[in-house]
């Protein structure tokens, strides 16, 4: 038969566990937020708040009556509401007030709220704790009111914490001020450093730091540097960096007597290495490369990631359509800049930008802003034969294909088979059909296939321009690595030049680029190629970026290196990059070594004497030494 429903015995059913409505985020949030902000409002019960108000009122009264500041205001002065709050509370408070601050602990009163009892306990405790405070603060009302508030704040604080707070207040009174900017800058470091340690140290050398503006910065003695090496205090190091940079800017006026510039520089180098955790070698390179103020900017820029940028695949869609589709998916983006018609910069996104259906359908490619520049410099034309010597992961290759509208042919080569897999995937995804993908060492190139209209050589490099992407570069590079890269780059560049067909009607161009900013891998390599082959530098066609160096420390490069371009993270907010565009004007290779050297020398003297530009010097060479065909 089964049980029948008996309406009289029906159990009352409330909403089930699952039906319970979840509380809003605002209630959850409170648990995560630091309690400091709402200490006053939350922890005090309504009564306690009223009492606090009374106390404030009372202290004002006390000014007139000159009573003891810690004493509770008399019940006669209480507002009505407060007295009437609770029947039993009334007599109790009266009683307490009558007994003054020496009232007994309220544990006897069971009706008393917990907060109340705690606070009462606090007051009592405070009396025991701060008896000397009382002694020296009898007449000082302003300070006292602050003190009592402190006590209210610190209801649940341990005595030691309260002591720390008092100490801080005293420091504030003594006039130690924290510079706003510095504290903001160092927030990260503060989290790292232990809480208690730096406080004391600051206190100790506080005198020195407050007076930085008035007194000259004192270079710490050598002994202290040793001690620093063990446990560096990053705040101090940072401050010292700023000080030294400031001094070096106006060295004559601000330096300490008897200290040389090199002493300051050494100190600065050590500090920068500590603060930004660079290896000595790379930091030395960077110091040679940048003026000091720029150096700090550069190092700072390397600590933050570059914006995420993407390039529209014009083979499949238009930028406006893509932007609209992505905005509909909750991506916040903007056009990249005036110089790019296809680039978009992504500010934030509610979906993974590398896995949207648009990405999978090949409507865009995730590509750094700097990687678009070499292709724009190369300016591939339709129906050309193009070689991309080091193509992985295929971003630049696909950009070339899109500029060529899938006509002509691109040979995409890379020496790394693993990385070629991503090239295959990317090119197919983006709908690029005019490529052949090969797996050669780039140095074999003119032997395999040659006679290309244009060649792009994105050479393997030490990666000093992309430290924000790969911070390991900071420490794991040394002189040998750089020179090894430079050597490989020279070999590759010569191979690349030899693969270009100088007699091509539309082309005969070569673009060399690296994501490194060292001179050894850039200007030096380019200068080497200028000496070794019949090429000259031409403007890259990019209207921004800094000019390449023509002189760097002891090295002197060809004056035409001015037409190369350098890009830096701190000035252009893109990865550090170097781009040089060559035009090959003869397929013949300057043959014998001695001739080559002589030829170079004669070329150089011609340059020195008459400041000729690259073209004419090489023409001079061609006249001087008729090259064998």
């Amino acid at each position: 038969m089964g049980r029948k429903l008996d309406p009289t015995k029906k159990e009352k059913r409330g909403p089930g566990r699952k039906a319970r409505k979840q509380k809003g985020a605002e209630t959850e949030l409170v648990r995560f937020l630091p309690a400091v902000s709402d200490e006053n409002s939350k922890r005090l019960s309504s009564r306690a708040r009223k009492r606090a108000a009374k106390r404030r009122l009372g202290s004002a009264e006390a000014l007139k009556t000159n009573k003891s500041p810690e004493a509770k205001p008399l019940p006669g002065k209480l507002p009505k509401g407060a007295v009437q709050t609770a029947g039993k509370k009334g007599p109790q408070s009266l009683f307490n007030a009558a007994r003054g601050k020496k009232r007994p602990a309220p544990s006897s009163d069971e009706e008393e709220e917990e907060e109340d009892s705690e606070e009462d306990g606090m007051v009592n405790h405070g009396d025991l704790w701060g008896s000397e405070d009382d002694a020296d603060m009898v007449d000082d009302y302003g300070a006292d009111s602050g003190n009592s508030e402190d006590e209210e704040d610190g209801e649940e604080l341990l005595p030691i914490e309260r002591a720390a707070r008092k100490q801080k207040a005293r420091e504030a009174a003594a006039g130690i001020q924290w510079s706003e900017e510095e504290t903001e800058d160092e927030e990260e470091e503060k989290e790292v450093t232990p809480e208690s340690g730096p406080l004391k140290e600051e206190e100790e050398d506080g005198g020195l730091q407050i007076n930085v503006d008035e007194e000259p910065f004192v270079l710490p003695p050598a002994g202290e540097t040793e001690q620093d090496a063990q446990a560096p205090d990053l705040q101090r190091v940072h401050r010292r960096i700023q000080d030294i940079v400031g001094i070096l800017r106006d060295f004559g006026a601000q330096r300490e007597e008897g200290r040389s510039r090199s002493e300051y520089l050494n100190r600065l180098k050590k500090d920068l290495a500590t603060y930004y955790s660079y290896g000595d070698f790379l930091l030395g390179k960077l110091m040679d490369l940048f003026p000091l103020s720029e150096l700090v900017e550069f190092l700072e820029a390397n600590e933050v990631p570059r914006p995420v940028t993407l390039r529209t695949n014009t083979l499949k869609t238009r930028r406006r359509d893509l932007a609209q589709a992505l905005i509909n998916r909750g991506v916040n983006l903007d056009p990249l800049g005036k110089w790019s018609k296809t680039g978009l910069v992504v500010y934030d996104s509610s979906v993974p930008i590398g896995a949207t259906p648009e990405y999978l359908a090949g409507h865009y490619m995730l590509q750094g802003a700097s990687s678009m520049l070499p292709v724009m410099a190369l300016a591939p034309q339709e129906h050309e034969r193009i070689l991309d010597m080091c193509c992985a992961p295929g971003g630049k290759t696909s950009y070339m294909a899109q500029l060529m509208k899938n006509t002509g042919v691109i040979l995409a080569n890379d020496a790394n088979a693993e990385r070629l897999k991503s090239v295959v995937g990317n090119l197919h995804r983006l709908g690029v059909t005019n490529t052949v993908i090969s797996h050669y060492d780039g140095r074999q190139f003119p032997k395999v296939v040659g006679g290309f209209d244009r060649v792009l050589l994105d050479a393997p490099c030490s990666g000093t321009g992309v430290i924000s992407k790969d911070p390991a570069v900071k420490t794991n590079k040394d002189e040998k690595d750089i020179l090894r890269c430079a050597h490989l780059q020279k070999e590759l560049l010569l191979s690349a030049i030899d693969s270009v067909n100088a007699t091509s009607k539309t082309g005969g161009y070569l673009v060399y680029c690296t994501c490194s900013i060292t001179v050894e891998e850039n200007e030096w390599v380019v200068d080497y190629a200028l000496k070794k082959r019949n090429v000259r530098l031409v403007p890259t066609g990019l209207d921004f970026g800094q000019e390449g160096f023509t002189r760097f420390r002891e090295r002197r490069f060809h004056p035409s290196l001015r037409s190369t371009r350098r890009f830096y993270p701190h000035t252009h907010n893109m990865d550090g990059f170097f781009i040089a565009k060559f035009k090959k004007f003869s397929n013949s290779i300057p043959q014998s070594q001695t001739d080559g050297v002589l030829l170079c020398r004669s070329g150089w003297t011609a340059v020195v004497q008459s400041q000729l530009i690259a073209t004419s010097t090489f023409q001079v060479q061609a006249i001087l030494v008729p090259t064998p065909k």
Binding site: P357, E358, A361, K421, G425, R429, V436
Partner: protein, 180 residues
């Protein structure tokens, strides 16, 4: 790299014809130059003759890919279409299926298309017909085989499979290393 044999060509064309029917003719005779199919490492590449000539300079072991990869021959000499062929199948496809935005994600993860996710389907699609799957925004997402004819699709319950999954563009991320 070599041209396909008679047998291989037949097997492959039969497979492609399941999706694009007689439009296959358009792939072979193109107005913009000669295109051909080439076999390399068991994979079939569809490539312009001009590009193929350049690729002929490159030795077999160093050649990774050329043109567009259509698919591969299995060890049992059957032909399997890859998602990389989608660019050529989609424009010529005779039978199409559009899926709702909510079901896009599921399909791109390699799942079959359920009735509940079906947005539109070409009229008079027969059962087991090769179809190209589109999103409602007309982006080709992959291809598969119709599990039900258009008529049957109207009757079945929402959780029934209407298109069997064969390939989808999510494979560009999921199976990047096996694309060629």
């Amino acid at each position: 790299m070599r041209p396909l044999t008679e047998e291989e060509t037949r097997v492959m064309f039969e497979k492609i014809a399941k999706y694009i029917g007689e439009n296959l003719q358009l792939l072979v005779d193109r107005p913009d130059g000669t295109y051909c199919f080439r076999l390399h490492n068991d994979r079939v590449y569809y490539v312009s003759e001009k590009i193929m000539k350049l690729a002929a300079n490159i030795s077999g072991d160093k050649l990774v890919s050329l043109g567009t990869c259509f698919g591969k021959f299995t060890k049992t000499h059957k032909f399997r279409l890859h998602v990389t062929a989608l660019d050529y199948l989609a424009p010529y496809a005779k039978y199409k299926v559009w899926i709702k935005p909510g079901a896009e994600q599921s399909f791109l993860y390699g799942n079959h298309v359920l009735k509940s996710g079906l947005g539109r389907i070409t009229e008079n699609t027969s059962q087991y017909q090769g179809v190209v799957v589109y999103s409602m925004a007309d982006i080709p997402l992959g291809f598969g085989v119709a599990a039900k004819s258009t008529q049957d699709c109207r009757k079945v319950d929402p959780m029934a499979i209407v298109v069997f999954h064969q390939a989808d563009i999510g494979e560009y991320v999921r199976h990047e290393e096996t694309l060629t």
